[in-house]
Symmetry: D3
Subunit: 247 residues, 6 copies
C-alpha cells in the first residue's frame, strides 16, 4: 500500500490496525559511469514497493540526501544536514498528527546514516525536553536495504571483493531490474575502483576520478537485481513487522 | 531525460547544450474520497515525464509541499514554509554548482505557489545582497501544469463549473491515466463540493468535510487524463524551451 | 485608533468588543525618479490611518518588505523572506497573546504578496500540526490597498495604460496627498516605462534603468491621491468589518 | 533627510558626501496608564526627525523591540531576540550594499540595548570570520536618545527621583510634544511607581501592576517634551557627525 | 559540588533542597602577550569552583563566548551570537527539565554580557508568549566575577589605572594562582596598553596590536590571584544564596 | 600544549609547524549510580591532556553532547542536534580563520557519533557547494578515545562481557584515575545492567532504571584507569600524528 496511491479514507482505515509506516530515503548523486544518479533513492523505493505489496504502508520517497562529497560530479544534489534534519522533523510531525507512532526509514545511502540518526535525536529531543505530557511518544528505526542477513550474504557471494562501497554492483543491479530500459554500459578503468576515505567534494573527486569507490559495477545484471530486490523485500517486510509490534 | 535515470556523464553532456532543468514540485495531501494523496506530486511528474521525452532534463520530484490546511485528513503531509524555502535553496545551490542557470519549477499544487515565489526571492536575495561578483546569476520560473492556454480551456470544456479548486476532475483524470490500477470510486455527496476560503486545518475540515473544494472528481476518466497530460506536456515543453532561451 | 498612540488600557477596552487588528505592511525601495522610497509602506499607513478613524485598531507599520530585486538602486532595503516570515510569526504570537484572533494585513507592495501568504501558512502550520488543543485558532487576511473594486477602477480611469506595475501614479499620488512637502519632480524618459519580468537585482536594473515598470508617475497629483486614499479607506473599512465578523 | 521621503537619486547623491545613516530603533509596549504604547519607537523617530533636518539621513523606524517582559499588558509586542538579530543583519546588509558604512542606531528602549549589541557582534562576526577580503568593513554605534549629557541632566533637573526607569515623564513628554492630540490622563497610584528587577512577563506584571517602573509620568508636559526633544536632537546631531567622521 | 563530578542521584538529592545552579561562562580568546587564551573561561571556573566548596552546584563551563573582535589573534574562538543564544536555550531547557528554576551565570568576559542578556530575553520570551500554563517560570541572573564590591575595590587598589579593560592584571593573576605552572612572561610595550573602542577583528588588531586594552598585566602575581579569587568566591557565594532565595 | 593555557603568540608559533588541533568532545549526562555525570567529557579531556604532553595542541572541551535519551535522570544536559551542528561550524570557522586545517575530534560519547559526522558534512558542504575558490579546504576526523586497538582489547581483557555500552567500567576507571577524590560507590542491582535499544528519555528510563546499559562499573579501579588512559593517549598521539600528515 502506497501513500501516494491511496485516498485519505484508505489511510484512515489502515491506521485502525497499524500505526507504522515505511519511508524510503535515499540520495541523488553520481554512481559512476554506469550507475544511475537516482540509484540510492530508487533502491529503497523499489524494495519498499515490493514490501508494500504485503499491505504495509509506504510513504513517498525522501529523495535528496546528504551527498556533499559528490558535488564535483554533474547532476549530484545534496541537502545541508541542517536542512535534512528540519525536513525529517516536518515529515514526522505531519504523520504523527494522524496517529502514526512507528517510523521505519528504509535507507539507500551510506552517507545518510549519520544525519538520519542525528534527525532521530532531534525528533526525540523535542519529546525528552518536554516537561509536560503533551506529545505522543514515537519510535524511529533506520534500516539500510542491504543489511538483512541473507541480502548481505548474497551480495558478498555474487560480487566478493568487487562489491565495494559506492556504485556497488548490487545497487546497480537492483535499478537494472526495475528500469531495464535504462541499463548503462561504460568502460570502467580500473575494473575495481580505488578505496579509501574522503572529506569534501574536491577531495573526493581527486581520489575517485570516475566516482566509484572499491566497486566493479560492470558485474551487475538485472537478473541479480531481481533476486536481490526480492530477497531484501522479504527481509525488510519481516523486520518492519517486528518493529511495528514494538512497544 | 530524467536525472534519476541518467549517469553523471550524461548530465555533463547535457550541460554542453543546455543549462535548464525542469523540477516537478507538488504535495502529498488528501484529494477527497476518490483522489490519490499523491495527486499533486504525481501530476507534474507525469506531465514532466512526457515533456522529458523531448530531451529536456527532469529532476526528481519535490514531493512534499505546503499543505498545513489538509492536516486534519489522514495521510496528508506538509513542510513548514521555512523548511520548504531552505530545501529549495539547497536544490538550487546543488544544481547551480554544476552550471545549471535556468530552473523551471513545474508545480502541481496551488498551495505551493506563494511559498515557491518566496523561495525564489530568498534565492535571488543571496545574489542581490552580494556586493561582490562571486555568484553566477540564475533564473527561476514557476509554472503550474494546468496553466497552458489549451490545457486550461480543455479543463473548462470538459468539466465546466464542476472543475472546482481542489481534488479537481482534471488532476484526478491525469493520475487515472498514469495509474489505471489505482482508480478509486467513492460516493460523493454533494456531487459538487462546497467552495470558499479557509485558514488552518481545523477550519478547512469544518468547511470541506470530505476534502474537496468546488469539484466533482467523479467526472474524471483515464481517457480525459491522457488527453490532458499530453496537451499539458506539449505546452510545457514549448514553454520550457522559451524559458531556456531567456537571457 | 492607532496602537502606537493608545495606552494599554485602551487596547484592553478595545478587545472587549473586537479581536481584529489592521497591520499596514509595505516595503522600503526605490520608486523611480519621482517616487518616494517609502511609498509602499506609506500608502497602507496613510490609508489604514484613515480607516482607523472609524474606530478599528491599526498596528505599527511593518515597513521593510521583500525587495531584493530593487537592491541595485540606492536606499532600497529588503528582508530575506525567511526573516520576513519569522517576523510575521513574532507579530502574530505577540498580538494573539492578548486575545487578538483576526489579523488584517493591509499591503502596499506586490513583491510582498507571496511571502505574506507563505507567512500565513507558517503561522497556521504551528496550529495545524499541533495535536493538542493548546493554541487559539486565528485568522489572517491579506488585502492590497488598491484591490477594492472602486479604488481599482478609479486607478484605471485616471491613468489607463500609464498606470503600470511599479512606481505607479496612483501610489505616488497617495504619498503626494499625505506628504505635500515632499512632492518630487524629475524628467521621465520614456514617459511610460518598459514592462516585463525580472529575477535578481542586476537583472531588474538592466531591464528598468530608472526603476519604474510600465508606469508614468508624472501623472500623479495630490488631489488624485486624496481621492484615492479616501476611496481606498472606505473600502478597506468595510472589508475589515466583514473580516472581523468572520467565524 | 528621511529615507522614506527621498528618491533613490537623492540617496545616491547623499552617498557622495556621507556613508552614515541614523536608524531609529524602539519598541511597541505598554507605557503605563498615561503613556503611549508606541513611546519607545516614537521618541527616537521624533528626535531623529529633528536631527535629520540638519541634512543627515534617517532610515525608517525599527519599531518592534525586545519586550517580552511587557507581554501581560494588552497591545505590547515583541520580537524574539533571535528574530531581532536576523532583522538587524538584513537591514545592514541592505544598506551596506549601497555603500553605507556607518550605522548609527538611535535607541528608545532600554530593553533593546543588550540585543542591539548582540546584533552588532553578529554583524561583525560575519566579517571577522571571513578569511577573504570580500566584505567592506562597517561600523555600528548604539546611542540612546536620552544619553547626551545635557539631555540627561535636564531629565534629572525636571523630574528628580520621579524620573524612574519605565514610562518615564521625559519620554511621555516627548510624545506629548509631537502628538498633542493624544495626551492621556489617568490616575496613578502610587504617584511614583515601585522599582526593581523582573524576569518574564508574569513576573513583571506581578511586580509592576500598572506597568510603570519607578516613575511618575503625570509630571510630563508637552512643553518639557519640546525642550527635551530639541536638546536631544542637538546632541544627537553632533554625536552623529563625530561618528560619521570616524575611521 | 560540581555537576561533572557528581552522580545523578547526588543531583537528585541536591534538588530536594535547592533549585539553583551556578554556570561559569567565559570565552576563549587572546589575552595579550602574557595572558592565557582561556583566561575568561578559567576565571569563573576557578572562582565558581571555590564557591562550590560551600555546597552550591556548579555546572560545566560554557567555554566559548562572543569574541569576534579577537579573531585576528591566533587561537581565539567565537560563537556567533545566534549560536550562543541557541546554546543557552538548550542548557536551560535541559536543566529546567530536572526542576532547576534559578540559573546563576558567573561570567568572565565583558564581551558576553550583551548576548547573555539577549539569551535571557530569548528564554523568557518562550514563556511570556505562551498563552497556556505549560512551562515552569525560571529566573536567570548574570554576575561578572569581578563585580562584587570588595573584589572590585581590591582590583582598583592593586592596579589603579593599569587595570584596564582587557587582559587585566586581576584576571591574569587569578589564572596564575590556579595554574602556577603556566605563568607567562613577555615584554610589554607600552607598559600600559592603549584604550578605546573597536568594531570587528581587523579594527581591533589595528588599534590594539598586542591584544591588550588599557592594562598592564605584568603587574599580576599568583599571590594577588589567590587573594582575588577567594574574595570573589566569598562574594559570589553570598550573592548566589540571595539569588537562590528569590521568588 | 593546551589552547586554554597558551598565549596567542605560542599558538602563532605552533601554527608554523602544524595546522592540526585535537578537540575533546563529550557529553554531560548520567552515568549510573557510581559514574560521574561528566564522564564522557572528562575522559577525552584526560586522555587528550596526556596526548598534549607530546606537544600537540588541545582545544577546550566541547562538553555538552547529544544526550536527549538521558533527560529523565537529574543533571543530564543535551544540545539539540541542530544546535550541536551550528556550534561545530563556529568552532571550525574560528580555528580555520587562523590557518588550522586538520581537526581531530576526540570523542567520549557514543551518542555524539552520528551528529559529529552530520556536523562534518555540514562543514564540508559549505565548501563543496561553493563554486568559487574562496575557502581553504579542511579535514575533520572523529576518533573515539576507546577505539585504539590496544585500548579496546585491554577493555575487553579487563571486563569482558561486563563492559557494556553505557557507564562502562573503563570510562569510570579513567575518571577515577584523574579524580581520585571523587570515586563513588553505590549498590548495583543487577550487577550487570540490562542491554538493548531505546528511543526518547522516557523509554530509556523505563528500560534502564539506574541509567547503566549492559555494564558493571563496580569493576572500575583507578589503577585500571591510569593504565587505560595512558594506553589510549599513546594510541591517540600516534593516530593524531598520522592524521596531521594527511594531505
Amino acid at each position: 500500500m502506497r501513500l501516494h496511491l491511496s485516498t485519505w479514507q484508505e489511510v484512515e482505515t489502515y491506521l485502525q490496525t497499524s500505526k507504522a509506516i515505511l519511508i524510503p530515503i535515499g540520495s541523488t548523486e553520481q554512481h559512476g559511469p554506469n550507475g544511475l544518479i537516482g540509484t540510492d533513492a530508487l533502491c529503497p523505493e523499489i524494495i519498499g514497493g515490493l514490501a508494500a505489496e504485503s499491505g504495509l504502508l509506504m510513504a513517498p520517497t525522501f529523495n535528496i540526501g546528504v551527498a556533499q562529497h559528490h558535488m564535483e560530479f554533474p547532476g549530484s544534489m545534496t541537502l545541508r544536514p541542517s536542512t535534512f534534519i528540519a525536513t525529517m522533523v516536518d515529515w514526522v510531525d505531519s504523520l504523527a498528527k494522524h496517529g502514526f507512532t512507528h517510523f521505519y526509514w528504509l535507507n539507500g545511502h551510506g552517507g545518510n546514516i549519520a544525519t538520519i540518526n542525528a534527525g532521530f535525536a532531534e525528533i526525540y529531543a523535542s519529546r525528552s525536553l518536554d516537561t509536560g505530557n503533551g506529545r505522543t511518544p514515537i519510535r524511529c528505526k533506520l534500516r539500510n536495504w542491504w543489511q538483512g542477513k541473507e541480502t548481505y550474504e548474497k551480495c558478498k557471494a555474487l560480487y566478493g571483493k568487487a562489491h565495494g562501497a559506492h556504485a556497488t554492483p548490487s545497487e546497480v543491479a537492483v535499478t537494472q531490474f526495475a528500469y531495464p530500459d535504462h541499463i548503462k554500459t561504460a568502460p570502467l578503468s580500473p575494473e575495481i575502483a580505488p578505496s579509501g576515505g574522503y572529506t569534501d567534494a574536491r577531495d573526493y573527486r581527486a581520489r575517485f576520478p570516475d566516482g566509484r569507490i572499491g566497486s566493479n559495477p560492470a558485474l551487475a545484471t538485472p537478473e541479480d537485481g531481481e533476486l536481490l530486490a526480492k530477497l531484501a523485500a522479504k527481509e525488510v517486510t519481516a523486520d518492519f513487522e517486528r518493529f511495528a509490534a514494538e512497544q
